[in-house]
């Protein structure tokens, strides 16, 4: 402990040097902007700015890139809440209840809760990163394909908790999402599925075009199609802050989201995305008012937003402690280190204490900066809602198109987003929810790859899923969840869904 404190003071002596401080600030600002722009997520932001860091020192470069990463996680909630456009996959869940809160005039409260939840999660997870990185990193590596598959299967159970309305409809949408996720190259055989000669479809449908189309564009179309235009919201200053009740409802979700996000975040792969899904499901399961979810439950914002922020620090655990690229974003950051001649590996912490501890300390500072940056911005951002719809909506569509194009520079992606927008509009008219489609499309390729890798590892023996301790435990946990629900359903014939009035389906049309 004394050693940690000593190291940390070394870290702060690095992190508080004016240039490092400056680059952390630049990273946070850029990250916030990247997060606010629809479609452009942290990966696109970091990739675009990576060349700009080549001229800096290794510490400045990594501090700035990390600032972009967690800054984007802060900023990602903004468009989700205000316009129902997810900045990236991890903020899909925030779209649901965050946007519902905004429609009720609680946009300010939702943004404030998201910022504060992100701050608590960010700071807490840096402490965890600092104290637990080396031992946790070795544990994280034990997550192979079978464990990943079991975890994703738990994520799939989340889909069942997604719907506020009809279970059949939401499962149908989840299935459609899973089917959309089948498009693209078969990772095990190299066969192109449903690509019809379009090379760009070889990678499948991207998460960003699907989410931006189904949420953002469909929302604009649906609102524009209403006979009576919705009233322009005029948020007042005292409504910006969360009420006492909202605070009380957020405390536990923030705490749980932080822990959950960190634990899921350390797992190599794209686990940070599902951290927000799992957090949402957990909050809904534990909530005394699950029927409020989907209609502006503050816990549905607080939990997932904390989880996705905490997961960013989690993702640094295997990256810093072992030098393994634990996901696409850490991979770009490792490349930034290599360009500076720092070879990332298990010896990094020992050989480059300045860099490691400076990085840790800069994350404390960066989180403070982001809170200071984002809380006052809440007042600015909510003013977007004052813009008359005839100006706001065309600009939203424009930002959606630009954002989707910017991710890969691909026109095909723009067409996918527009097509998804039309599909989303149609489905909403028919009373279907579109969130399960997005979740299905995100999970399908991950589940498929993990399942087939596991079977390749075991030469086709399904026993690999139960014989390995971690995956066996996770699967048993999932089975228990399903059984418990089944029992209560059999015994009481009741489910909280019964408490939802039948007539509410038409509400959002």
């Amino acid at each position: 402990m004394a050693e940690t404190l000593q190291n940390l003071s070394l870290g702060f002596s690095v992190a508080l040097q004016p240039p490092v401080l400056l680059y952390a600030f630049v990273g946070c600002v850029v990250g916030t902007l990247v997060g606010v722009l629809p479609g452009v997520g942290p990966l696109a932001g970091i990739s675009l700015l990576l060349p700009a860091t080549f001229g800096l020192t290794a510490t400045n470069a990594i501090v700035m890139l990390a600032g972009i990463y967690y800054g984007a996680m802060y900023g990602g909630s903004t468009t989700s809440i205000l316009m129902r456009i997810p900045g990236e996959a991890a903020s899909v869940m925030t779209c649901i209840d965050g946007y519902a809160m905004a429609r009720k005039g609680r946009a300010g409260a939702a943004l404030a809760i998201a910022a504060i939840g992100s701050f608590i999660a960010g700071t807490g997870s840096v402490i965890a990163l600092m104290l637990l990185a080396p031992p946790l990193a070795n544990f994280a590596l034990r997550f192979g394909p079978p464990e990943y598959f079991a975890l994703l299967l738990l994520g799939l159970l989340v889909l069942a908790y997604m719907s506020g309305g009809s279970m059949v409809k939401s499962l149908a949408m989840a299935t459609l999402g899973l089917l959309l996720g089948m498009i693209g190259i078969d990772q095990m055989s190299g066969y192109f599925r449903f690509s019809y000669g379009v090379v760009e479809l070889g990678d499948g449908l991207g998460v960003v075009p699907i989410a931006v189309g189904l949420f953002g564009i469909a929302e604009v179309l649906a609102t524009a199609g209403q006979e009576t235009p919705p009233q322009v919201l005029k948020p007042r200053l005292r409504e910006l802050l969360p009420s006492r009740q909202e605070w009380r409802d957020s405390v536990m979700p923030i705490g749980r989201g932080s822990v959950l996000g960190f634990l899921i975040g350390i797992i190599p792969g794209s686990a940070h995305i599902i951290s927000s899904f799992v957090s949402y499901a957990v909050e809904r399961r534990l909530s005394r008012h699950p029927e409020e979810f989907g209609h502006g439950a503050v816990a549905g914002v607080a939990g997932p937003e904390s989880a996705n922020n905490s997961a960013t620090s989690g993702a640094f655990v295997p990256m810093l402690a072992l030098g393994v690229p634990s996901g696409p974003i850490p991979a770009v950051m490792l490349a930034a280190l290599m360009v500076h001649g720092v070879s990332p590996g298990p010896l990094l912490i020992k050989e480059q204490p300045d860099l490691f501890w400076g990085f840790i300390a800069s994350m404390y500072v960066g989180n403070l900066m982001l809170l200071a940056l984002n809380l006052p911005m809440v007042g600015v951002f909510v003013n977007v809602l004052r813009v008359p719809y005839s100006f706001l909506y065309p600009s939203i569509i424009m930002f959606c198109v630009v954002g989707v194009y910017a991710v890969n520079g691909s026109v095909v992606d723009v067409w996918i987003a527009l097509g998804m927008g039309a599909l989303g509009y149609l489905l909403r008219k028919l009373g279907f929810e579109t969130a399960p489609i997005v979740l299905g499309a995100i999970l399908a390729p991950m589940i498929e790859l993990a399942l087939r890798q596991s079977l390749a590892m075991s030469d086709g023996q399904y026993s690999i899923f139960v014989s390995r301790p971690i995956s066996g435990t996770l699967l048993a946990f999932g089975a228990a969840l399903v059984l418990l629900n089944l029992v209560s359903w059999l015994v009481r014939g009741l489910d909280w869904r019964r408490r939802i009035p039948l007539d509410e389906h038409g509400e959002n049309l």
Binding site: G144, P145, A335, M338, G341, L347, Q453, A456, M457
Partner: protein
């Protein structure tokens, strides 16, 4: 209003025409050049392309911008360059996979995204042989022990790769055929996850570029058994090559080369070759490649053409030997 628009349109059109006319008259290069990297920023291709571009700018006296056009394991960007105008203003920095993708397309009898003869090779920048690594606690101390054990237990020893028909897969397959062994393939989505899988103990072996695994070898986590190169890797002088061990067919490099679309005029190609030759001799470029621990292996003209053709032939053969993965 309409008249104004028409006037604007005319203005734009004429200025485009003028620009093109001017381009045809002036010596190459008269405007910025884009170097297409078909992989995302931070990957081997991208990290090689950036110092190459910076070094070539010095000779060409025009900016060389990097365009990351990613998708479908590089096929999207490669197809883009293959079908772009052969005027020397759109170049490609490709890795060995350029020769694999058309072969895999052929295997599935689908229309190829592009073919190798749509490109004019300009210069080879680097060529890194892959090396075979296992975890330190694994029983195999030498490549010989590994191969003998694999012979005894066919399809029991597993390895990870960057993806089916990817570079790391092809390296292992070439070895398997050369040594007459059968290994169990577990593809991952990229070289990073493949390394993570080996470190986590989910697979037994991996063929990888030296720069990626050197830190893990130094830290005592991984052991290098042998290399696919024609010579030993400078950073690992004690690790033999498969050639020395009697498997000359197991030769494989992850290389990075500069290409132009086929049909680029010879004077332009000559200018590009000159810029590439001056570029690799540039001290800034050397320093950048040193930091990446990637040795420069410069070849151009007929020499690169020969290397490229031999490599493409070897890989095409490899893809055909692997064939289509049977469904279980």
């Amino acid at each position: 209003m309409t008249r104004l628009r028409l006037a604007l349109l005319l203005l734009v059109l004429t200025s485009c025409g003028l620009a093109q006319y001017a381009a045809a008259q002036e010596p190459y290069p008269s405007r910025p050049i884009s170097l297409v990297v078909p992989f995302p920023p931070g990957g081997v291709a991208d990290l090689t392309a950036r110092p190459v571009a910076a070094a070539m700018e010095k000779t060409l006296k025009q900016p060389v911008g990097i365009v990351n056009k990613t998708g479908a394991a590089g096929a999207v960007g490669m197809q883009f360059v293959a079908t772009s105008k052969p005027d020397g203003y759109t170049l490609l920095l490709a890795l060995s996979s350029i020769s694999i993708i058309p072969e895999a397309d052929k295997l599935f009898s689908r229309p190829p995204a592009f073919t190798v003869d749509q490109f004019a090779p300009v210069a080879l920048i680097s060529a890194d042989p892959t090396i075979l690594v296992v975890r330190t606690e694994s029983p195999w101390k030498t490549a010989k022990e590994f191969i003998e054990d694999a012979k005894k237990r066919p399809n029991q020893i597993s390895y990870s790769s960057s993806g089916i028909y990817g570079t790391l897969h092809m390296a292992m397959e070439l070895l398997s055929h050369a040594a007459g062994i059968k290994l169990r393939h577990v593809p991952y989505a990229g070289a990073g996850p493949a390394l993570t899988a080996l470190l986590g103990g989910h697979v037994d072996a991996l063929a990888s570029g030296p720069s990626v695994v050197l830190p893990q070898i130094k830290a005592g986590k991984l052991r290098a058994l042998a290399g696919w190169g024609d010579k030993r890797v400078a950073a690992l002088p004690d690790v033999p090559t498969f050639k020395e061990l009697g498997y000359p067919e197991a030769e494989f490099y992850i290389w990075a080369g500069l290409f132009a679309p086929k049909g680029t005029p010879e004077p332009v190609l000559a200018k590009l070759r000159e810029a590439a030759r001056a570029g690799v001799a540039d001290p800034d470029f050397k320093a950048a490649m040193d930091k990446l621990e990637t040795p420069i292996a410069f070849k151009q003209g007929a020499e690169f053409q020969k290397f490229f053709e031999a490599d493409a032939h070897r890989l095409a053969e490899g893809v055909r030997k692997v064939g289509r993965v049977e469904q279980k």
